[in-house]
């Protein structure tokens, strides 16, 4: 074997080992709180300090967490129900939104970043509303809907330069990816997935089911 061959093979080996090492390291540090069949998930994974709350319970007893994808149709279908529930319960429940963009939705990740960029200017709730109420207009488009989202930022009167900068900032993408990673470790497989006080709601089909579950939690 020539010196060149030896060095080449050594280098390939080093690259493979480094990548594998980083992956293992990453896997070990990721919080693991996989739940199956209604087992409680570590609340620290479901609700992070930087997670977005659309309402906060005064007594902190009932927390509803939704992992959602702004481009998913069932999430948009659940949106009016959530809106009504928030109006009804107000400060009796904490409602937390976590990003869980599905890779097959071309603009889901970008939409999540747009929401995060708005959140950086304290307008998460407004962007969340705009994204769901206009999903028909931007959803399932093959091209990047950056212009549309910047348009929403303009509507909200955000600092557009900052919005654009935050949209492209790798830190924003990382923030979205962290939510997704938490969802995965909590056992989320699709969207929307709800957790009520740490337990995944697997039997909820209608708004009535969701209301009944919340009422039970408030009573219990």
């Amino acid at each position: 074997m020539t010196r060149n061959t030896r060095l080449t093979l050594a280098m390939i080996l080093v690259v493979i080992l480094v990548v594998l090492g980083l992956m293992t390291l990453n896997r070990n540090t990721a919080p693991s709180a996989v739940s199956d069949t209604g087992e409680a998930v570590d609340p620290a994974v479901l609700v992070r300090d930087d997670s977005h709350r659309l309402s906060t319970a005064a007594d902190g007893r009932v927390t509803l967490v939704e992992f959602l994808d702004f481009e998913c149709e069932s999430c948009a279908a659940a949106y009016p129900a959530i809106k009504e529930i928030l109006a009804t319960y107000q400060d009796r429940i904490t409602f937390v939104v976590r990003y869980f963009p599905i890779p097959s939705h071309p603009n889901a990740e970008l939409a999540a970043r747009a929401a995060q960029a708005a959140a950086n200017q304290d307008r998460f709730a407004e962007m969340y509303t705009l994204l769901f109420e206009n999903q028909d207009a931007w959803g399932h488009q093959r091209t990047a809907q950056t212009e549309t989202f910047v348009g929403y930022a303009r509507t909200l009167g955000l600092d557009l330069d900052r919005f654009q900068r935050d949209l492209d900032d790798p830190a924003t993408a990382a923030r979205v990816a962290r939510d997704r990673a938490d969802g995965e470790s909590a056992g989320v497989q699709g969207t929307p997935t709800f957790f009520l006080n740490g337990r995944q709601l697997t039997q909820v089909r209608t708004q009535g089911d969701l209301v009944a579950a919340i009422d039970a939690a408030l009573a219990g």
């Binding site: 010196r3 060149n4 061959t5 060095l7 080449t8 280098m11 390939i12 690259v15 990548v19 980083l22 992956m23 990453n26 896997r27 990721a30 963009p101 890779p103 097959s104 071309p106 889901a108 990740e109 970008l110 093959r142 091209t143 990047a144 492209d168 790798p170 993408a173 990382a174 990816a177 962290r178 997704r180 990673a181 995965e184």
Partner: protein
Amino acid sequence: MTATLNRRPDTAPDTGFLARVTAWVLAIGGGVGLLAAATLTVEKINLLSDADYVPTCSINPILSCGSVMTTPQAAAFGVPNPLLGIAGFAAVTTIGVVLLAGVRLPRWFWLGLQAGATFGVLFVHWLIYQSLYVISALCPYCMVVWVVTIAIFLYTTLHNLRQIPPSSPLARLAGIAGYHSVVLVAWYAVILAAILHRFWDYWSTLL
């Protein structure tokens, strides 16, 4: 006077292992690049004729031709980049096959290839930068082009470095040729590291 001294540098025998490798890199690299460029051209035509067409290489938000192909960077010189690729890689393939046939090409010809390969490799690195940091998506066929363009440039350059007369102060550079595949792997490793670093959050969610 020995035969060695009579030889002009541009016709120096280059029939060793590295010369064969260079010929194969040009022939196969050119061929693979040609296939990738042709596929991208077909995908571009499909996209143009049907706005809802989803390219075969749009796998997820990161690995996606569709989002890359529709950017201004995809037609950097006014014509779609893959058209440049079809012309360039066809020529490189031909040159590789000619070399495999045992034809000895004159120095000016090699320098012409060097000019083309240098343009190609600079263009490809601009595209890598755009893809990673501006577009934020990777297009698999484009990455095939990155891989072969770098190899073609490296082996063409090493060939030309080996032709530098020993009297020239630059002649020592030809020594790099002895470590050709080390240079190639190191080059790829840097780009791989940049890709992993840029999209680490995404890759890690796939685990």
